[in-house]
């Protein structure tokens, strides 16, 4: 009997078989493409002439993501079903929101032609967006566009589509808004869409607020739409930046009185005014209206950006600060350790 190779190396056999299959497939494809070889461009990729530089393709992702389709009527209808049903239930379950200050919007609601407005809330969590959508009353809720970070929400096609469809998101750059984006936003407002812009630019990294950037003020100046300052409390503990999973808790949304740009007021000044308003609302949410008014009048409202510490003392102060608000109210008393004061 003739033994050609050792039987232990039986894997060699399958590899060879695979190579053979590959060869056969490659040969088949080549046979198919053989006619087009003769045809060349435009069936095949063109070759670039010597000395020519091909400009890079304009990426359709990020700030250039097309979201106009999401504002069409069928998309609106689909979104309304999501908002009023599942989103509302989800927000209620995860954030148990208490929504106050709506009477400050009563005069705008009463007007025959309710104007578009720009909501300017502070930002601690992804939950803020669906929370805002649930909290904002009609007639603005159905005509709400959320300004969302282009690099976070619109970097992938699927993510961008989902954001546009369910949240009616619009891509906006965090730092410096491009001319194009701001023009488009301006047109949206002129068309009657209300905006939600988070002036901090992104979620708080450490639980304290960040400085307000001028996007909302700029747009309000250009379009004349009133800015509604909003303070959201408690979402940082529910699903803050860096948390892996959301943890159900309580939240509070406080709407402030509409702010209109004063004649010849610079964007910077208006932005400062908006930031002061949200700061005062924060004080009102955590203490009470009268204390907030008194401190606002004296200029001693506690700043949203927190104390001037670094490191552990900043975190420590954050815990004290959170006790004042909704995060300090436990939904269920499941304390396992005795409270030693």
């Amino acid at each position: 009997m003739k033994r050609s190779a050792p039987t232990r190396l039986s894997s060699v056999g399958p590899l060879r078989r695979a190579a053979k299959v590959g060869d056969a497939a490659g040969a088949a494809v080549q046979a198919l493409l053989k006619p087009t070889k003769a045809l060349g461009f435009p069936y095949r990729k063109p070759s670039v002439p010597k000395g020519m530089i091909v400009p890079p393709n304009v990426s359709k992702l990020g700030a250039n993501f097309e979201t106009g389709w999401a504002r069409s009527t069928p998309a609106k209808a689909a979104r309304r079903m999501v908002t009023n049903g599942p989103m509302h239930a989800f927000v209620r379950a995860i954030a148990s929101p208490e929504i106050v200050g709506l009477d400050r919007l009563a005069d705008l609601e009463r007007m025959k032609e309710t104007p578009a407005v720009i909501f300017a809330p502070n930002h601690h969590s992804h939950v803020d967006t669906p929370l805002m959508i649930t909290a904002v009353p009609e007639p603005w809720r159905s005509n709400l566009v959320i300004a969302a970070a282009a690099d976070y929400f619109f970097d992938k096609r699927v993510k961008g589509t989902l954001a546009a469809l369910t949240l009616n998101a619009f891509p906006i750059d965090r730092e410096v808004t491009s001319r194009k984006s701001s023009d488009e936003l301006r047109h949206l407002v002129d068309d009657g869409w209300s905006l939600v812009i988070f002036p901090e630019g992104g979620r708080s990294p450490d639980g304290w607020g960040q400085d307000f950037k001028g996007g909302a003020a700029y747009l309000s100046n250009r379009t004349g739409a009133p800015v509604i300052p909003v303070f959201i409390d408690g979402t940082g503990s529910i699903f803050g930046k860096g948390m892996k999973r959301p943890k159900a808790g309580k939240s509070k949304v406080v709407f402030g009185a509409p702010l209109l740009p004063i004649e010849d007021e610079s964007t910077r000044r208006f932005n400062a005014r908006i930031e002061a308003a949200v700061t005062a609302l924060g004080d009102e949410a955590l203490t009470d209206y009268w204390t907030a008014r008194q401190r606002a009048a004296k200029g001693t409202s506690p700043k949203l950006t927190g104390p001037e510490y670094n490191g552990w003392r900043r975190q420590w102060a954050l815990a004290e600060h959170r006790k004042l608000g909704k995060a300090g109210q436990r939904r269920r008393q499941n304390r396992r350790w005795p409270d030693l004061g």
Partner: protein, 529 residues
């Protein structure tokens, strides 16, 4: 452009006219050729920028320095505000009081004022429930001041907290809330629904004691008040109030009076047809009317009351003025009359009116039979200037079911008043002499007024005295659709239908009597020549 009020001469083409009848309505046909219906003016336009108007008023008061200059740190500031008797129905949030008080508090915070007290100027009315205070002042103001004990309700029986300001030259003692009397500044926040209120009346009744009120809340004064809503110089009530106002001005604390007026847009859609002229009802209005009356016929009365009392009216501010009381009130009255005045020529033999489910003394409660009399002969009869709409000795016909039903929490002394006092006498003078003192001094009523939500023991008497002028003036009072035993206890004549009522009236005013129907609400004041 809102149309003014006018007088409709009823002819054969006039449709049936809508009458309020407690928690329901009815349509009555008035005889052609000798009836007229007085329709109120349509609601005036509300101010567009209400908060701006308030701020302007505070910074530009009449005959006084701007409010910020009157505020300084360390001062004792008291903000008194009208209680929940008005507006009727309650306003949508934010209530005028909330807007004005928040604007005032903003200025107070800017000036560094810490000692601020907010007092509900309710006089001898009932204490308000928490939800009523929250509705009037807003949650922000309530949550800031109530837990600190800086928001509370005037207690006219707390003798440690009353102070005598002085005595008028007629011997009337002005005794008001002590905290208010000792303040550096009292800011009064008023809503003027009717021309009776406001001016010096705000503080001299709202923050007063029984002793002080009894000087003008008595039958003699009210019989000589012609009328409550009309010419002030013919109103004994108001001349007494002015005397007290002078004492307040000369010897009392500084007062910054803020008065506001409301338009008469009282009913939310889809019930706005209630203030529309009947021949202008659209098909939808008629359908709504039929559906409403038919379902109300089947609804248990408790539920019907709940539905009506939960209604929030879209009425809004039409003017706001602040500063010196006399200067401010003059403007307020002009604005109220601008909204409510209707020119009418001549009196008639009969006056008809539909009594609604609510009057200033039963917000969120039951309209008991005494309040039916108060609303009809007190408020609606007095909606005139110059002369009453009905001639002296004429007949007044009202429609209301007049159930023998009382709210025992709000009106405990009214129950006893109906059972004991009215069983004895219906004459205001007689009951004042024989029964008033007992009710005013009863410990149990005082306890309920001070700690519960009850009107003061003496209040049913005041409700009855309010109609004293009407009682004296009319030859007969008939209530259509009312429970007969209850109507007789009130001293009136029961009738089942309007035609029966006219028949009974013909005994007094003859067969071809002329009839005026007061198409209220909305509110109107008839200027009768």
């Amino acid at each position: 452009m809102p149309r003014p009020g006018f007088v409709l001469e009823v002819d054969r083409s006039t449709p049936s006219i809508m009458f309020w009848r407690g928690e329901n309505f009815s349509l009555e046909k008035l005889p052609a050729g000798r009836s007229r219906v007085i329709y109120p003016p349509e609601p005036l336009e509300a101010i567009k920028d209400i908060d701006g108007a308030i701020r302007h008023a505070l910074l530009n008061p009449h005959d006084q320095d701007p409010l910020p200059t009157q505020l300084f740190p360390g001062m004792k500031l008291t903000i008194a505000f009208d209680d929940v008797s008005l507006p009727l129905p309650k306003m949508r949030r934010p209530d005028t009081r909330q807007r004005v008080i928040e604007a005032v508090l903003d200025l107070a915070a800017a000036a560094g004022v810490d000692d601020v007290h907010l007092i509900a100027a309710l006089g001898l009315h009932r204490r308000m429930h928490e939800y009523e205070l929250r509705h009037a002042l807003g949650d922000r103001v309530y949550d800031s001041f109530h837990p600190r004990g800086m928001l509370y309700q005037h207690d006219a029986e707390d003798h440690d907290n009353l102070a005598i300001i002085g005595t008028t030259d007629h011997g009337e003692v002005l005794e008001i809330n002590k905290r208010a009397a000792e303040s550096d500044l009292i800011i009064y926040v008023n809503i003027n629904s009717v021309s009776m209120d406001g001016g010096w009346k705000s503080i001299t009744t709202g923050l007063a004691s029984y002793r002080c009120l009894s000087h003008h809340h008595n039958p003699e004064t009210l019989e000589n008040t012609r009328s409550l809503m009309g010419h002030r110089h013919q109103s004994a009530l108001h001349t007494s109030v002015w005397r007290m106002g002078k004492v307040l001005k000369d010897h009392g604390p500084k007062i910054f009076q803020i008065e506001t007026t409301l338009n008469t847009d009282m009913f939310p859609a889809p019930f706005d047809f209630l203030s529309k002229r009947e021949w202008e009802w659209t098909a939808r209005d008629r359908a709504t009317f039929l559906a409403t009356t038919k379902s109300l016929n089947r609804t248990p009365i408790k539920l019907a009351r709940k539905i009506f009392h939960n209604m929030e009216g879209p009425h809004q501010m039409t003017s706001v003025q602040a500063g010196d009381t006399d200067a401010v009130h003059k403007i307020t009255l002009e604005k109220v009359y601008e909204q409510q005045l209707v020119d009418v020529v001549g009196q008639t033999d009969i006056l008809t009116m539909g009594i609604p489910y609510v009057c200033p003394y039963n917000p969120d409660g039951v309209m008991n039979p005494i309040l039916v009399m108060c609303m009809g002969l007190g408020y609606l009869f007095n909606m005139y200037r110059n002369k009453p709409l009905v001639r002296e000795g004429g007949v007044i016909i009202m429609t209301h079911p007049c159930y023998r039903d009382f709210n025992p929490v709000h009106h405990p002394s009214y129950i006893d008043f109906f059972e004991q006092v009215l069983a004895d006498t219906t004459s205001p003078a007689e009951m004042s002499r024989k029964w008033e003192k007992q009710y005013a001094e009863d410990e149990w009523y005082k306890h309920l007024y001070r700690t519960g939500n009850a009107y003061h023991g003496v209040h049913p008497f005041y409700a009855w005295y309010w109609g004293a002028h009407g009682l004296q003036h009319a030859g007969k009072v008939i209530i259509v659709g009312g429970d007969p035993a209850t109507v007789r206890r009130l001293g009136f004549t029961p009738a089942s239908t309007m035609d029966d009522a006219f028949e009974i009236a013909s005994d007094v005013v003859g067969r071809d009597a002329t009839i005026t129907h007061l198409h209220a609400p909305a509110l109107l004041v008839a200027d009768v020549q």
